[in-house]
Symmetry: D2
Subunit: 443 residues, 4 copies
C-alpha cells in the first residue's frame, strides 16, 4: 500500500527497508493503542463539526471492527505499509472511502505515534508494576520465613558481623519498592497527552486537546507543541532508567545467590529443576537463570544508554533518529517483564540452609558486639575497640540465634510501603480499564 | 594522626595513598555536615544514658567550635587522617580525652559517611533546584517576549511549519520543570536517615534511629540496615540521572543556539562579551559557552555512568568500591551548579533577530496550513494534502505574524508548574534551616 | 531433543525459555561454522586414534551433508535443542549411532561455541571490511570530483576559512581507513583458536591444538585454557568498539549532510528517491536515511556498552552471562553491514551545489589569508592578526576557487592507504576460502 | 595577560572562567611538549625564510630557557593566560619583542594544542606500556611459582574441574599482553603530526609539514587538515578504550583476589600491610586496594564514555566541545598509571595457600577426567558422560597434583609475547629520547 506521504514516485527500495526497519512489526503490537487514539481523534472531529455524528458512528464502528480483526490475527501491518498508522488509514479509506481520508485531519504522524506509544507504555508499565510488587512480596515472605536464621554479614567481602537471612531478603523488598518510585515518575511522564501537537507546531484549526486527553485517560495535556518531539527520548530515558534500576536490583540479588550457593558457602539452595548442566562435566548443576539475570541487566543498560543518547543534542523539532526509541522501549519492557516473572518463579523455590548459615557464624564476627558489651560496662568505645582487637584470639562464639534476636529487625516499613504501592496500582488499573471501556462505547 | 582502625602496624604508604585517594579533600567540604551527624548521635547517646547531660554539653560545645574553626579555614583534613571522620574524632579525643572516644559508640564510619553525604547532597540539591528555577524563569520571560515572533519550525532538519520564538523558548521551561520531577525523586531518596545502621548490621544497643533522623531533618529512617550500604550508588545514580537530564536540556538549548546563531540563520544574537575569538582567524566571534555546555553534558554522562556501574553487582554489605561515588557526586553537583548559573547569565543577554526570523518564513512552510484551509472548506484531509503537494509552486506567502497569532500558544501551564515548584522549594529550604538552627541549639 | 547435559529430569519450562533465549535462532546462522569446527575436531580425533579413518570418513561425509541440508533450509535448530551444538550432535547420533556420541570427546560446548562464533565473526568481518573500503572509495571519488569546489570551513559552528568540498569528503575516507585499523586489531583477536581449551581447564588427553587451529585457519592457538572464557566479551568488546567507531564516522557524515542540505545552506543535494515525506506537510523531502544512520550509531553504542559491561568483573572461568555477547555481536554486525551498504548507495547519488558553495564564501572567511599575506610582506603574525581584526570591514572577497587552488590539497595518502588495506583484505579472503575448501575436502 | 584573540573588549568574567575551566592547569603539565612544538615550528619558519638563522637561534635559546624555568617551577600558566600556548607566546613577546610575535605564523592554536597533547600522550603511553609489562612479568613469575599448585577451576561459579594457580595467574599475563595491542594501535593514532593543519583548513604559505613531523618524531603527517579537528576525540577514544580494557583486566583480577581471599576459600593471602581495617569492627582486615581497583575501572569507563560521546556528531571542523577531551585524557592516564603501579606492588606480595587450594579439590571436580578415562578405554564420550553422571557418588578423589601435572600447561607463549612487546617498547623509547635530544640541539 502507498505511504501516507507518497507523491507519485518511488523511494529506493534499499533505503525504504533501511528507514522502515522493524517499525511495521513494532506497530503490529500497538494496533489497539493506535486505534484508541483514532477513536479519540474522531470524537473530537465530530465535536468540531468536521465529522457528522453519522460519519463518526461509521468510523467508530469500523475502528472497533479493526481491533477485532487484529485480535484475531487478521490485521497485519506490512513492510510496504511503512507503519501501523498508514496501514490503519489505508484500511479505513478502503472500507469507508472519502470518510477514511478525513481521519488524519488536524494531526500528524508525529503526535499520533507518540499518543499510541504512550498508551502502549502506560498499559505495560501498570502490568510490570504489578509483577514487581509480586516479586517484592516474595522477598518479604522469604524475609519473614528466615527472620531469625543467622548468617554472617559481609563488608569488604569479608565476614563482618552477624545478620539474618531475613535482613538479607528484606533489603531486596525495600530496593524494589524504592525503584518503583522511579517507575511512578516515569509513568507520570508517559501520562501527558501529545495529541494535537501535530508535527510539533499545532494546527490552524480550533482543536480541543483537553478533550482528547480526557478520552484517552491522560492526566494532562503536554502543552508545548514543539516539546512533544523533544520528549521522544526524554520520556523514554526516564522510563528505561527506572527499568534499569529494577534490573540492577534483580542482578544484585542474582549475584548474591550465585555466591551464596557456591559449595564454599552453601547458604542458598536451588531446586534442581531451576538448574542446567554442562555438556562436558557430568556433575554440574548451574544457576544459569541467575547468571543470565545478572547479564541481562547489562543488556538493559545498553538499551538505556542508547535511549539517553538518542535524546541527545538534536535540533528542536522532530528528528527521525528518535523513532529508534520505540524499538528500544518495546525490547526493554519485554526484557524486564520476562525477567521479573522468572525471578518471581525462582523466589518461590529458593531456600536457605540453616545449618550452613549458622556454621558460618564464626567467633570473629562477634567482635563488635563484644566491644559494645564493654561499652555498656562503661569503657569508651575506641578503647573497647582496641581492647578487643588486641585479644581477638580470646573471642568466644556466641549463640548466633540469640544474638540476632537481640537486634532490631523490622519488616513492617516494607510491608506498609508495599500496601501503599499496591493501592496506587489498583487505582491506576481501574482508571485505565474505565478509559478503554468508555472509548469503545463512544456514542 | 592514626587511622581509627589502626592496630599498631603501618600500612604500605603507596597503598595508603591509593586507597585514601582524594577522600580527605572531599571530606573537607563536608566537615559541617559530619559534625551535624555527630551532634545528633551525641544527643541520642545522652538519651540512652551513655553520655551524661554534662558530657553531652561539652561535646556539643566542642562540635560547634569545630564548625567555626572549619569556617575560618583552621580545621583541615589531611591525607594522614584518611578521612574527615577520623580527623574529627581525633580532634575530639585531643580536646576532650576519654569523652571523645565515646562518640563513635553505636555507629560505624559506614553509616556516618552516608549520613554526612546525604546532608551535604540535600543542601546542594535545594540550592541547585533554585538555580534551575531561575533558568526556567528566564526561558519563560524570553517566551513571553518573543511570543509572536514567527520563525520556521523544523522537522527532519528541514523547514516544516511556522512556529514562534516564544514556543521555542517555552519548551525549555517545560523541559526543566519536568526534569525537576526527577530531581525531586532523587531528593526523596537522599531524605532517608542511614544513621544507626552501623556497619550494615545494626548494633546490640537500644538506639533510637527515629530520634536522630528527626534531629537531622530526614523525612524517614532508612529501615533495613544492610540496605544502607546497597543504596550507596543507588541513591547517587538516581541523583545523577536527574542532573544528567537537566544537563541534556541545557545542551540541547545550546546546540539550538549555536545553529540559530550561524550566519546562515541569524535568528539568535549573542552579546559580544559572551564570545571568544580565534588565535589565527581575526574575524571570529565564537559561542564557546554553548559548545562547552553541550560538551559538558557528556562529562556529566560519564559521571553518571560511572555511578550506575559502581552500584553494580557487588556482594551485599559494604564494599569500598562505592566510596568512589562520593567524588563523582561532588563533581557532578559542582559541574551542574556552574553550568546552570552560566546559562542563567547568558539567557539574560540573548536576543532574537525578528527580521531574520520573519525572512526565513518562506512560502513552503505554509503548505500544511493551506491543506487544512481546504479541509475547512470541506475537502477530506488526505485529498487536500495531495492537492497541495501537487501545487507547491503556487503556494503564496502568508503573513507569518498573522499566521502564528492564529494558533494556540499558551505559557500558563509552565507558569503554574513553576509556581508549584517554587513553593515546594521554599518549604524544603525552611525545613532545612530550622533543622540546622535546632541542631546548633541542642540543650 | 534432549539437552546434551540432560540427566533424566526436566528443567522448569519458563526457566528453559528464559535461559535459552534466542540462542537457537542465533545458532541457526552459524550451523556451517559449527560444522567446520566439528570437522577439525574429528580430524584430530582420527589423528589421536579415537576415530578410525573409516569412522572419520563417515562423520565427515555426514557433516558435509548437514551443511547442504542447512543451506537448503532443511536443518533447523529448535528451542527444544537449546542450541545448535546439541542439534548437530543429536543429528549425528541419530544418523550414525555410537559414532555420533564420540564427536564431543575432548571438547566442551565452551570451546565449541567460541570456535564457531569466531569463525562466523571472521567471515563477517572480512565482508564488512570490504564494504567499508567501498564506502571509502566513494568518498575518495567524491573528493576528487569536488577537489576545487570551494566552501566555507567552519569552526565553532561559524564560518572560519575557505576549504573545498574535496577536503570535506576526503576526511571521511581517511577516517574510515583509520577506523579499519581497529577492525584489523579486532580481527586478530578473533583469529586465535579456542578449540581444545574445553571447559576452560584442558583435558587429560593428548590433543593437538595447533593441528585443529591450522585446519580452521586460525593464525594461532589461544594458549591459556582459562583465558578463553575470559575473552568472551573481551574480544567482542574490541570488535564492537571498532564497529562503533565506524558507525560514528558515518553518523558524523550524516549529520554534516543533514546540515549542509538544509535550505539555509544548500551545499548538498540528495536525489529525491533517497528522501521520504511527511503525513501532514505536503512539501517535505526528508533525509531520513541520514537521520537514521546518525541515530543507529547510538544503537551500536548500546550494543557496545552492553558488551563492555558483560566482560566485566566476573569470577575467572566461564559464566553464562557472557553467552549474551553472541546476540549483541550478531546484531552489531548486521546493523553495521546494513548501514555501510546504504551509505555506499547514497554516496553514489549525492552532489554538491557549486553555486551555493561559492556564494557562501563571504569576505570574512579570507581574513586569515589576508593576515598571512601581511606576514609574507614582513609583518609579525600577531600584529598582522590585530591589524586585520581592526579592519574587518575592509576585507575584499577573494576568488574562492583561486584561493582554494593555492592551498595544498592531497588525496594520495588516503589512496595509498586504501590500496594497502585492499591488499590485506584480498590476502585474508584468499586464506579463508582455502581453509574452507581444504576442510570440506579432508581425506 | 591578554588572550591571543583579544581585540580590545573584555569577556564576561563568569563566562571566561567557565570556558577556560582547568585548561591552564592541564597545560602546566604540558609546557615542555608545547615548547617542543614551537621549536619545530620555528625551525620550519627558518627553513621558509620567515625567521633568519639568528632569529631562530634567539627563539630556540629562549625556548630552552623556558623549559628550564618550567622545570624549576618558575613558569606558571595562570587562569588569565587562558592556556599554555598564550602564556608561552606572551612570554616570548615579553622577552623577544616583535620576534615573539612571529612564532604563531602558519599555525593556529587548533593544530598547536593537538601537537602538544599528542607528544604528551605519546610520552605517557610509553611510560604506561612499561608499567604494564612489569605487571605482566609479575603475573608470569607467579604463574611459574604456582605452576603445579592445584585449585578448583570454576564455571557458572561452581567448582568444575581441576586447574592450577599457575594457569590462573598466567591468564592475566596473556590478557595484559593482548590489551597492549590496543594500546599500540592507540599509540599509532597519536603518532600522526597535526602541525600545519592550522585551524583545519591549511594556510596559504609554503609550509613543510613533513619536516616538522620528522623533527617532532611523528611517524607520519596527518594529511587532511579538516580531519585533524575531527580526530580530537576519535584518537582519544581509541586511547581510552585501550586503557579501559587494561583497567578491566586489573579489576577482574582484583575481584578474583577478593573472592579467593574470603575465609570461605582462603586460596589467596595478602600481607597485612596491604590491608586496612574497620572503625567499628576490631577484627577486620580488608583488601581495599582490590575493591578500589575494581571500582576505579568504573571511573575509567566514565572517562572513556565521555570521550566517545565528545567525538560524537559535531559539525565538521573544530568545535570547542572537544577541548574537554584533554582533561579526560590526563585524568585517565593518571588513573591508569597509579593503578598499574599499585597492582605491581601487590602482585609482589601476594601468595597462594597451597594447603587450602588442595583441600578445595573435592572429588566431584574429577568427574570429567573420569569420563575421559572411560573414553580412552573405548566408550563413546556421551555414554561415558552419562555413566559418570549416574555414578557421581562413587567418584574417587584423585591426587590433584598428579592430575594437574598430566595436563598441558605452557607459559612460553606469554613469555615470547612479553619479549616481543618489550623489544618494541625499547625501540620506541629510544626513538623518543633521540627526538628530544635532537630538538634541544637544533642549530
Amino acid at each position: 500500500m502507498a505511504q501516507l506521504w507518497n507523491k507519485g514516485f518511488d523511494i529506493n527500495r534499499e533505503i525504504l527497508e533501511f528507514t522502515v526497519g522493524n517499525d511495521y512489526e513494532l506497530d503490529q503490537l500497538m494496533v489497539k493503542h493506535d486505534v484508541y487514539g483514532s477513536m479519540a481523534q474522531a470524537a473530537m472531529l465530530k465535536k468540531m463539526g468536521i465529522l457528522t455524528p453519522a460519519e463518526f458512528k461509521t468510523v467508530h464502528t469500523e475502528l472497533k471492527r479493526l481491533i477485532e480483526l487484529w485480535q484475531q490475527g487478521k490485521f497485519v501491518v506490512k513492510l510496504e505499509d511503512e507503519d501501523g498508522h498508514t496501514a490503519i488509514e489505508n484500511h479505513l479509506v478502503k472500507q469507508l472511502g472519502d470518510l477514511g481520508k478525513k481521519i488524519h485531519t488536524a494531526r500528524s504522524r508525529n503526535d499520533q505515534v507518540v499518543t499510541m506509544s504512550r498508551l502502549y507504555v502506560k498499559e505495560k508499565l501498570l502490568n510490570i508494576y504489578g509483577h514487581s510488587l509480586t516479586l517484592a512480596q516474595h522477598f518479604l515472605a522469604l524475609a519473614k520465613r528466615y527472620r531469625h536464621v543467622p548468617m554472617p554479614g559481609y563488608t569488604h567481602m569479608q565476614r563482618a558481623m552477624p545478620t539474618s537471612g531475613g535482613v538479607w531478603f528484606d533489603q531486596y523488598a525495600e530496593a524494589i519498592l524504592d525503584d518503583l518510585q522511579l517507575l511512578k515518575t516515569a509513568f507520570q511522564y508517559n501520562d501527558m497527552s501529545p495529541l494535537g501537537s501535530a508535527a510539533g507546531f499545532g494546527v490552524n484549526l480550533p482543536i480541543d486537546r483537553a478533550y482528547t486527553a480526557k478520552l484517552l485517560g491522560f492526566k494532562k495535556v503536554q502543552n508545548n507543541t514543539m516539546y512533544v518531539a523533544y520528549t521522544r527520548g526524554k520520556v523514554e530515558a526516564a522510563t528505561l532508567f527506572a527499568l534499569n534500576q529494577l534490573m540492577q536490583t534483580m542482578a544484585k540479588f542474582s549475584n548474591d545467590v550465585l555466591l551464596f550457593s557456591m559449595s564454599e558457602f552453601g547458604f542458598v539452595e536451588l531446586p534442581k529443576e531451576y538448574c542446567t548442566g554442562s555438556s562436558l562435566m557430568p556433575q554440574k548443576r548451574n544457576g544459569d537463570v541467575f547468571e543470565l539475570t545478572r547479564g541481562k541487566a547489562n543488556i538493559m543498560l545498553g538499551y538505556f544508554l542508547s535511549t539517553v543518547e538518542l535524546q541527545n543534542v538534536l535540533l528542536s523539532g522532530y528528528n527521525r533518529d528518535t523513532q529508534l526509541t520505540k524499538d528500544l522501549m518495546v525490547k526493554a519492557l519485554h526484557l524486564y517483564s520476562n525477567t521479573v516473572k522468572v525471578m518471581s518463579t525462582v523466589t518461590e523455590g529458593i531456600t536457605l540452609n540453616k545449618t550452613k548459615c549458622i556454621a558460618a557464624c564464626s567467633a570473629d564476627i562477634f567482635a563488635t558486639d563484644k566491644a559494645l558489651d564493654l561499652v555498656k560496662a562503661g569503657m569508651p568505645f575506641r578503647d573497647a575497640y582496641r581492647h578487643v582487637a588486641a585479644h581477638l584470639d580470646e573471642l568466644e562464639t556466641i549463640d548466633p540465634i540469640k544474638n540476632i534476636k537481640s537486634k532490631a529487625i523490622d519488616f513492617r516499613p516494607a510491608q506498609t510501603s508495599w500496601k501503599a504501592n499496591s493501592k496506587w496500582l489498583s487505582g491506576e488499573q481501574r482508571r485505565w480499564q474505565q478509559t478503554v471501556k468508555h472509548l469503545l462505547a463512544l456514542p
